[in-house]
C-alpha cells in the first residue's frame, strides 16, 4: 500500500483543563473518503482544524503529504480545500467575486481563476447566481458555494466539517450528489458528521469518535457487522409498559437497548422475532423492522444516541 496522505498518531489537543482530542490515531489513503462520525463535542471539528494546518496541537504527530502542518502551514494548506462548519463567505461580494478573491489567495493567475469559476459555478449549480450577492443565497446555495470555493485551487484533499448540517433534506441530497462526484473524480475527502446516513452514503471508511477518543474504526458495513446484528426490531408498548416488558423481551434477542420511547431489539431476523413476541402474548402498539445502521453501532459503543 502506498504511503497515506494523512497520518495521525497520538493527536491530543487541550484547551486549558479540557481535553478536546485525546490521543487519536488514523491514516487516510489517497482517493479515500474518510469520515469522523460522532456527536457534537466529540472533538471532530478540533481535529479538522488541526488537519487544515491552521490550529496547533498539544501533543502527538500529524503528517499531511509527509509534512508537519504546524511547521509547514502555508505549504500544506496549498494542497487543501477547506469547507468549515459555518459558511464564512464574504456576504458583501457576489458569488463569482467570492470565488475570484479566494483563488487569488492561492496566488493563482486571474486567467486561470476566470476559467475555473465557470467550471465551479456549473458544479455548484449556481450559474444563474454568479452576480448575486452572497447574502441573498439560500442556505443550501451558500453551502455549495463554500464547497466550490474550497475547490478553486484543485486541492489534493478536501476537508468538510459537517457539510450538510442545517440543510433541508432536498438540499442535503443535492450536496451528497456533488460530493459523490468529487469522490468519483478521485478527490480525497475527509469529512465530519453526526448524521449516520451521511457517513454511510459518503464514507469508504470512518472512525467513531466520542469525548475526544476513537471508539471504533472500519467501513460503514464492517462496523455494522462487527458491532450490531443484521436487523433491528423497534417496538413500542407505551412509555410505562416499555419498562415492564423489557426484562422478558431481553431474553428473546441477542441484545437490547432501552430508549426513553422505544425498545431496540437486535436480531438476525426481525420479522421472526416480532412473531415470537406476539405469540408470547405481548402486543406492541407500534413495531418496525429495519437494517442495523451506524446509529446502532454508536449506541452500542457509547450507550448514547448520536443526536441528543
Amino acid at each position: 500500500m502506498s504511503k497515506p496522505l494523512i497520518s495521525v498518531r497520538g493527536l491530543t489537543k487541550k484547551f486549558g483543563d479540557f481535553t478536546a482530542v485525546d490521543g487519536i490515531d488514523f491514516d487516510v489513503a489517497k482517493g479515500e473518503s474518510f469520515g469522523l462520525l460522532g456527536p457534537n463535542g466529540a472533538g471532530k471539528s478540533t481535529t479538522m482544524r488541526i488537519l487544515a494546518a491552521t490550529s496547533t496541537r498539544t501533543s502527538g504527530t500529524v503528517e499531511i503529504l509527509d509534512k508537519d502542518p504546524e511547521l509547514f502551514g502555508p505549504l500544506v494548506r496549498a494542497h487543501l480545500g477547506v469547507v468549515p462548519q459555518q459558511d464564512n463567505l464574504d456576504n458583501e461580494l457576489t458569488v463569482s467575486e467570492n470565488l475570484f478573491i479566494y483563488g487569488r489567495y492561492f496566488g493563482l493567475s486571474k486567467k486561470f481563476i476566470k476559467n475555473k469559476i465557470e467550471e465551479l459555478l456549473e458544479f455548484a449549480q449556481l450559474e444563474e447566481k454568479r452576480d448575486v450577492k452572497v447574502e441573498a443565497l439560500s442556505g443550501g446555495m451558500k453551502r455549495r458555494l463554500t464547497i466550490a470555493r474550497g475547490l478553486v485551487s484543485e486541492p489534493d484533499i478536501l476537508l468538510l466539517d459537517e457539510p450538510t448540517t442545517g440543510l433541508d433534506p432536498q438540499a442535503r441530497h443535492i450536496l451528497w450528489d456533488r460530493l459523490f462526484r468529487l469522490k468519483e473524480q478521485g478527490v480525497t475527502l475527509v469529512l465530519t458528521t453526526h448524521f449516520m446516513d451521511e457517513a454511510e452514503q459518503l464514507c469508504d471508511r470512518l472512525v467513531v469518535m466520542d469525548k475526544g477518543a476513537i471508539m471504533a474504526e472500519g467501513s460503514p458495513a464492517g462496523l455494522i457487522k462487527q458491532y450490531s446484528s443484521k436487523e433491528v426490531l423497534e417496538v413500542r408498548f407505551g412509555s410505562d409498559r416499555n419498562k415492564e416488558v423489557a426484562p422478558q423481551l431481553a431474553t428473546m434477542c441477542e441484545r437490547m437497548e432501552t430508549l426513553p420511547d422505544r425498545l431496540l431489539m437486535y436480531t438476525e431476523d426481525g420479522e421472526a422475532l416480532l412473531e415470537k413476541i406476539t405469540h408470547a402474548g405481548m402486543h406492541a402498539t407500534t413495531s418496525l423492522v429495519r437494517r442495523s445502521s451506524l446509529e446502532d453501532v454508536f449506541l452500542r459503543l457509547t450507550g448514547r444516541t448520536l443526536i441528543e
Binding site: 487544515a52 491552521t54 490550529s55 496547533t56 502551514g73 502555508p74 505549504l75 494548506r77 496549498a78 494542497h79 487543501l80 477547506v82 468549515p84 459555518q86 464564512n88 463567505l89 464574504d90 456576504n91 458583501e92 461580494l93 467575486e97 478573491i101 479566494y102 487569488r104 489567495y105 492561492f106 496566488g107 493563482l108 493567475s109 486561470f112 470555493r149 474550497g150 485551487s153 484543485e154 486541492p155 489534493d156
Partner: protein
C-alpha cells in the same frame, strides 16, 4: 495541487492579496465613504471657519495660535483626525467581522495566507482609505483657501502617519476583542472623543493645565498635529521636538503592527 500555486510568491505578496480583497469590499461602500469624507470636512470648515474662528479671532486675534489664522491652526489636526477615524473604521470593523461576525479571517487562513499577512493586509487597505480621506480633505482646505498650495502639502503624509500610528495600535485591540458589546461605545466616547478634544486640536496643548497634558503626549493625534503645524506654518517647535514626534509615531507603527500580527496569528491558531 494545482501547479499554478506558487507558495513562495504567496509568502511575499499574501498581504497584498488580502489588501486588494479588502479594497474590493470597501468599494461596495464607495458612495457612503465619499459622502462621509467630503461631508465631514465641509461641516467643520463651515462651522469653524465661519463660526468659531471668527469668534476666536475677534477675542484675541491670532496671539494664542502662534499668529496662525484659527481655521488654519486647527487644519492639520482635523486632517490627522480624519486619517485616524478613517483607519479606525477600516481596521476595527473588518477585524471583529473577520474573527467573530463572519469569520472571514478563518477562510483566508485556510489558504497559504498566514495570520500575520491578514493583519498586514487589513492595515494596508485601511491606509489606502486614509490616503483617500486625507487627500479629499486637503483639496477642500485649498478650495476654502485655508492653506496655500505648496509646502503645506506635507500635512498629508504627516496626517497619514498619525492615522497609521493610531491604526496599528487599535488593530491590536480589535484583534483581542472577544465580546464586542461595549467596545464601540468605549472606543468612541472614552478614547476617540477625549483624544480629539485634548490633543492640542483646538488650542495649544500647553494652554491646558499640566495634569491634562499627558493625554496629548500619548495621543498620536497631538504628535501628528504638531508636526503638521511645523510643516505647514511658521510654528517653530524646534528640531528636537520634530524628532521626538516622528520617533513616537514611528514607534507606535512598528510596535502596534508587530503586536497586531502576532495577535492575529495566535488567535487564528487556537
Amino acid at each position: 495541487m494545482n501547479t499554478g500555486i506558487d507558495v513562495p510568491q504567496i509568502q511575499r505578496f499574501g498581504a497584498l492579496y488580502i489588501a486588494s480583497a479588502r479594497l474590493r469590499s470597501m468599494s461596495k461602500w464607495r458612495t457612503i465613504i465619499a459622502a462621509v469624507d467630503i461631508g465631514n470636512p465641509l461641516f467643520y470648515l463651515i462651522a469653524v471657519g465661519i463660526g468659531i474662528g471668527v469668534l476666536v479671532e475677534q477675542g484675541s486675534g491670532t496671539s494664542g495660535t502662534s499668529g496662525i489664522k484659527y481655521i488654519a491652526f486647527i487644519a492639520p489636526a482635523l486632517l490627522a483626525n480624519t486619517a485616524i477615524t478613517g483607519i479606525m473604521d477600516e481596521t476595527v470593523f473588518p477585524t471583529i467581522e473577520g474573527f467573530k461576525w463572519r469569520k472571514l479571517f478563518f477562510a483566508q487562513n485556510a489558504t497559504p495566507i498566514t495570520g500575520r499577512q491578514i493583519a498586514l493586509g487589513v492595515y494596508l487597505a485601511a491606509l489606502c482609505r486614509a490616503i483617500f480621506s486625507v487627500t479629499v480633505y486637503y483639496l477642500l482646505l485649498l478650495a476654502f483657501s485655508v492653506v496655500d498650495f505648496g509646502v503645506s502639502v506635507l500635512i498629508i503624509p504627516i496626517a497619514i502617519l498619525g492615522g497609521a500610528a493610531f491604526g496599528a495600535v487599535i488593530l491590536y485591540f480589535a484583534a483581542k476583542i472577544e465580546k464586542d458589546d461595549q467596545f464601540f461605545n468605549i472606543l468612541g466616547r472614552l478614547i476617540l472623543m477625549p483624544m480629539f478634544l485634548f490633543s492640542g486640536t483646538f488650542f495649544p496643548l500647553t494652554s491646558m493645565p499640566i495634569y491634562l497634558q499627558p493625554i496629548g503626549w500619548v495621543s498620536p493625534l497631538w504628535h501628528a498635529t504638531e508636526l503638521g503645524r511645523e510643516a505647514a506654518f511658521d510654528y517653530s517647535i524646534g528640531n528636537t521636538m520634530v524628532i521626538i514626534h516622528f520617533v513616537v509615531l514611528l514607534t507606535l507603527v512598528v510596535v502596534g503592527l508587530n503586536l497586531s500580527m502576532r495577535q492575529f496569528e495566535r488567535r487564528l491558531a487556537k
